[in-house]
């Protein structure tokens, strides 16, 4: 999995590409986790290039969500493919995730 990060204002934008499976999820969570160690972190994960998410990937996103929530920050996801969205829906985690069609909507929702 390829991970690219950039900072715009006070928001980290992570663009992931590839498969978020048991092999990639721990590295993904570690990489992104290091970006959000400050107070009130803001994080947008762009899923445009993510074509596969397993349960391990779902847990990685959940771990990041919990970390951000405990630090008083905010997390948004955007451009999630239908098949990946269905995994998140069935996992019953979409109720605690802020998911948007595209980056602009996600940034707007995060108060940019």
């Amino acid at each position: 999995m390829e991970i690219h990060d950039e900072r715009i204002g006070d928001t980290w934008i992570v663009t992931a590409k590839g498969r978020l499976d048991g092999n990639a999820s721990a590295g993904f969570a570690d990489h992104v986790g290091r970006l959000i160690e400050n107070a009130n972190p803001k994080l947008l994960i762009d899923f445009t290039g993510v074509d596969f998410v397993s349960s391990a990937g779902v847990w990685a996103v959940l771990v990041l969500s919990k970390k951000i929530k405990s630090a008083g920050g905010s997390l948004a996801l955007c451009s999630v493919r239908d098949s990946v969205r269905e995994v998140l829906d069935v996992s019953d985690f979409t109720s605690i995730l802020s998911i948007h069609p595209a980056r602009a909507e996600a940034m707007a929702a995060m108060g940019k």
Binding site: N23, S54, S55, V90
Partner: protein, 143 residues
């Protein structure tokens, strides 16, 4: 004997690297055969989760599992044959959905996804091997 073009077969260890390789292979195979994104993803997901469970809980990382996937007009079918201890995926407990998502303990999600996305999930034990078969509809969500 010539294999039908729409059949994929592989022998795979239940290690993280091998499972990732299989995911790559099966998604490429299904995509090349015109299978829709949803069925492609969920077929790869079922294989990934069953093999991950085998490697993590079945103590069977060193013996290859046999994988077969067939593309049919209305579904994709698959079978996993492994030499791990007896394990029926239907016997796996579901995640603790009574607990709030943010507090829910880890565990049970992978096989829950297998059960939810498979339109037919069957298990038999023969000759000291597990036979797990499944089908993924090529229609949109059956839910």
């Amino acid at each position: 004997m010539t294999r039908p073009e729409t059949r994929f077969e592989a022998n795979t260890l239940a290690t993280s690297d091998a499972i990732t390789d299989l995911t790559d292979q099966i998604m490429a195979f299904l995509s090349d055969h015109g299978v829709e994104d949803r069925a492609t993803h969920h077929t790869a997901l079922v294989l990934n989760e069953v093999l991950t469970n085998l490697g993590t809980h079945g103590g069977c990382r060193d013996r290859a599992a046999k994988i077969a996937v067939v593309v049919e007009p209305d579904k994709v079918t698959g079978e996993i044959v492994d030499a791990g201890p007896p394990f029926d995926p239907w016997s796996a407990p579901d995640p603790a959905f009574e607990v709030a998502p943010s507090e829910r303990p880890v565990g049970g999600l992978g096989l829950y996804l297998v059960k939810k996305f498979s339109s037919a999930l069957e298990y038999t034990r023969r000759n000291d091997q597990n036979y797990t078969s499944f089908a993924i509809s090529r229609r949109q969500s059956a839910e």
